[in-house]
Amino acid sequence: MGRALEGKNMTKLSKDEAQALINDVLEVYPAKAREDRAKHLDFADGGDGGESQKCVTSNRKSLPGVMTIRGCAYAGSKGVVWGPIKDMIHISHGPVGCGQYSRAGRRNYYIGTTGVDSFGTMNFTSDFQEKDIVFGGDKKLAKLIGELDQLFPLNRGISVQSECPIGLIGDDIEAVSKSSSREINKPVVPVRCEGFRGVSQSLGHHIANDSIRDYVFDREDGGSGPEPGPYDVAILGDYNIGGDAWSSRILLEEMGLRVVAQWSGDGTLAEMEQTPKVKLNLLHCYRSMNYISRHMEEKYGIPWIEYNFFGPTKIAESLRKIASYFDDSIKEGAEKVIARYQPMMQAVIDKYKPRLEGKKVMLYVGGLRPRHVIGAYEDLGMEVVGTGYEFGHKDDYQRTNEHVNNATLIYDDVTGFEFEEFVKRVKPDLVGSGVKEKYIFQKMGVPFRQMHSWDYSGPYHGYDGFAIFAKDMDMTLNNPCWGSIIPPWKQAGETEQAAVA
């Protein structure tokens, strides 16, 4: 199988080949594990027979013994949803490691003076010791909140992000938060996002969304923001990685909308409180913020739509879709924005497409990117031959179907072994995944982009982002270093061996 594929390096897998490949890769597992993993691996078969509702199994516990790339509920809440809210202090409540090793790693950019009025990249922790586990940490938490408010008086509120031990020893962080909130006269939000909850970071998103619903929206004397206007929108699920939300925001503002809130990249508590008054919620990361969008739809009657700001084709589509919710002035504005940027984007495509055309990409990321970035690659003439979610649910895979071509590999919670085998066999020209996968593939000589934090580049959203995206992909793929991966003495050894044989 492997040999057969090597021969046709440039062509795509057929369906039979894709199935054979999956079977081959599964071979190594014991029978029970094979049966389980088989449900998570599949390929798109939308080509013939029209609508396909086939879906892989997702959002299930990872198999013990395999290498998974998933995170935990704490990562979903503190790292993703709450962390970027810059004017609140997020306490990593529990032992020191969880907060320290996740500190500032996600590159959620923000404007502000860190340590004075913004706290995004700082690590606040209650640093649990043995005695806190034995005697409980509630008193420590209360003291900590008091001290924090004294040291950082410009904070707008505090959130308590629980780590595993808090749930295990049964501390009552809700009661402490309530009394501390009264004491410092600011919101204190207890978040029950202990890492052991759920199967991945996905439940952490949900818990964080619920805590925003309960402690931010329903708060008394909250939400005294600017007068609501007819063109108010909120950006939900954009975490401003490398400045993503900013490059999205300018497009919306240019077409005449007023962006009153950014959730949660470069976001503030006041912006969140303002959100129930907007006219439309714009949802970028469906997975992490659909819960709060649904809640606002149910409670405040605010419609929400998903949009995609990767690549000019999808941006134009999304701008028109957003504009369709407003009057003609916005619709005209959208057309103007599209017309203004189209020539610039054409220049970008003209420059990079010849260098990237026909290249194959395999993705394995989380949230919205496994399906959303496909459009951007296609704009550059590249083809996505495999994609998968770390922590997607069924609705994510349903949404993926419309973006992928026939026989594209789909893998849910792919294990280290499976991903490596897929890459070895399919031989993509580029792999887009996270930092945990990066060095394996680079050592294998496969060009790699880190698609969680844009490999310390970005932004990739919006028109400005696409230019950077195209440049980065070219820089990685056509880098001369990939030809120098095998050291000369090994190359020599191989040819000698071949000659002998």
Binding site: N59, G198, S202, H206, D210, R294, E298, H393, K394, D395
Partner: protein
């Protein structure tokens, strides 16, 4: 009894979501779908079935309480 959310899927069908179990399934059939009587037995694509007390047709998405039938 468990909290669930019924919402409209992209293709117009209903989706059943149980936050506690992180269970998301397509609704295959709902017993009553009239404007003044909506609810009853709810069959999921996975084969499980739940019961929600009939109410007047709500605006979706809607959080409801459901009981397991099997």
């Amino acid at each position: 009894m468990a909290n669930i959310i019924i919402s409209q899927a992209v293709d117009g069908s209903l989706t059943f979501y149980m936050p506690k179990k992180d269970l998301e399934e397509k609704v295959q059939s709902l017993e009553f779908t009239q404007a003044d009587k909506w609810g009853g037995e709810l069959k999921l694509a996975s084969g499980q079935s739940y019961y929600i007390d009939p109410i007047i047709e709500p605006r979706l998405p809607k959080s409801l309480r459901a009981r397991r039938m099997d």
